[in-house]
Symmetry: C3
Subunit: 261 residues, 3 copies
């Protein structure tokens, strides 16, 4: 399937995407999921995560505002997802900024079968032991070329690695796709990385493989970002345009706009 | 009183509406409450909910992102509200999706005197034991006609039932009002159900009865949705327009736009 | 330095501003921080707050949706900030509305060296023992003139007091600056007080003194509010414009628009 075909499938099947994510972006990733055409649900209680994930087409784990109860919920949901064949996305927000975040991301990777690891270069580099500088939740300097980093992360962590930045790189350990869609304005609002992880969850629920899902999600989100930047007067109006653009994505023309190499 | 008269009273008295709600929509329901003309306050600590609800004109309980501490806070706030005559709205988000949510909604209904139960058809059907399909927080199929469902819920649960959908139905067990205001775009963003529960809380603080409050709130919110859809280019701009439209609601003309039968 | 010079420094140095804040406004204060030109990070786990604050140029504590675990995190972060010379802003949201909030704000002031206390008149009056009426998180009546209140708060609490309202007043106990920038629409959306505290954190990371930071932040935020009000059709579009306006603030002309006396 292509990004356009997967988008059409998302809109027809409306997969439920279970998200255990951070407080900062819950509304934003829920609305991005709805705008794309899938159904979001946020649930983090240990009493219900296993039941909820059983209804879902994908599970998105995001460590952006961690605490110990939430880690237990993420692990419980992840285990249940693995048992039921529900694919899992991990967004290791801020790995490298504090030991707590690095350790938690590592623990999830150790205990859960993660289909796609989606992060910025600093976060991914931290998890493969490459030198990186992470300030808060921003990647500021990484001692590795991103295509190489994506391949290394995929191989050493046993995931599809989705490393986003000015150009995104996705690797399954063999192939590396570079996606040049997007716009610099995506970096001017908080939560666009988290949204791209949510989009990856939506595509995982329908795509042929985790590699395809990761690439297709970044194409779709990047094209929406390009559209949103048109006429934006700043980060506020760009943010509003982004939901409009996600909802307006056309499955029939999406593939013609993909910049994948 | 009518919807217009109650809206005028809200803007004059600015009732405090205490909301214990989910992480996804806290900002959205607070801003909708302010835009309508009331004052929102979010407080969930057991140490303060009883004191806070004593200052409030209504209490809104919403189980959208549950955990055990929050359930205890909801019960404590609900008991205090009942003792002080502060009316309570319950929004049973996701009842029917997981046993935890169904059980929690049922427990609140058992232990608290709920004035208005505001939910979608699947959630309300679940709570009266009618067959329903709930995926995450979306109602997808219900084995009952909505007017009948509202009346049954009101009778069996001892509440005013406010069942929202393409046409909303409100019943006190005897009367059933159908409200045809609104716009399909309300379903394209997350939290509009939660907002309609918050609006119900605002009207409860001033209206003559819980039945009137539930009807008037859905008229006002539906008319705002109709206005917001004008010129909206998608869910992002609709969302922005919705707050503008709530603030622009005119008490003098609101009743002429009500589609209630 | 002036507001314009400090803004230029924020954009050049991009200080990390660690925020432990309430659920309602996390997205909003993060986006306002980014729009101004600094980097926000939200982290509240006891396991990581000390490490995170060590990376930060300022710490913002906001008690808007309290619970006991969060108070412990705020204290731990505050102690670490004090030890490392990282300046601390406290936003005592709702002090005066419940004893829990008043006591918590007082406890933080007692145990942490707070550089700037930023609140509305009711909250600040409560903390200095002046009669005040606080409904939820709104200040409705205060028995003191605001310039006097700011000076008294600064003296008795040993902070720079930043009392916002139709005209803002900042005092270090000796000087009192009145800032007349802003627009009444700032009061129509939730979280603008919290945003002004976040802005204060951004300026604290670069300004010459806490007094200068508090004044400069309110000038910048007020000018952005003035710009955002142009063409706003209501609170929704004003909210969007506010982020655009923060990002568009021009260091070269900001000082010419300051209304400080």
């Amino acid at each position: 399937m292509s990004a356009g075909e997967s988008l059409r499938a998302i809109r027809e099947r409306k997969p439920l995407v279970h998200q255990i994510t951070n407080y900062v972006v819950m509304n934003e990733t829920a609305n991005a999921t709805l705008a794309l055409g899938a159904l979001p649900v946020m649930a983090h209680a240990p009493e219900e995560v296993e039941e909820m994930v059983g209804l879902a087409g994908a599970l998105v784990l995001n460590i952006g505002t961690l605490s110990s109860h939430w880690i237990e919920a993420m692990l419980a949901a992840g285990w249940a997802a693995n048992q039921r064949g529900v694919p899992v996305v991990l967004d290791p927000v801020g790995a490298g900024a504090t030991a707590y975040r690095t350790d938690t991301a590592q623990r999830i990777l150790d205990e859960i079968d993660v289909a796609v690891l989606r992060g910025n270069a600093g976060e991914i580099a931290t998890l493969v032991g490459v030198a990186a500088e992470v300030r808060g939740v921003e990647s500021t300097a990484v001692g590795a070329e991103p295509a190489h980093l994506a391949r290394e992360a995929a191989r050493s962590l046993g995931v599809v690695a989705s490393v986003t930045g000015p150009v995104d790189h996705v690797s399954d350990g063999e192939r590396v796709a570079a996606i040049a869609n997007g716009d610099p304005m995506l970096a001017t609002i908080t939560g666009t990385g988290c949204m791209s992880s949510a989009m990856t969850g939506c595509f995982l629920a329908v795509a042929e493989s985790p590699f395809d899902a990761a690439v297709e999600a970044l194409v779709a989100f990047g094209v929406a970002g390009e559209e949103a930047a048109r006429g934006a007067r700043g980060p506020g109006s760009f943010h509003v345009n982004l939901y409009d653009a996600l909802a307006a994505l056309d499955p029939g023309t999406l593939d013609s706009r993909a910049k994948v190499s």
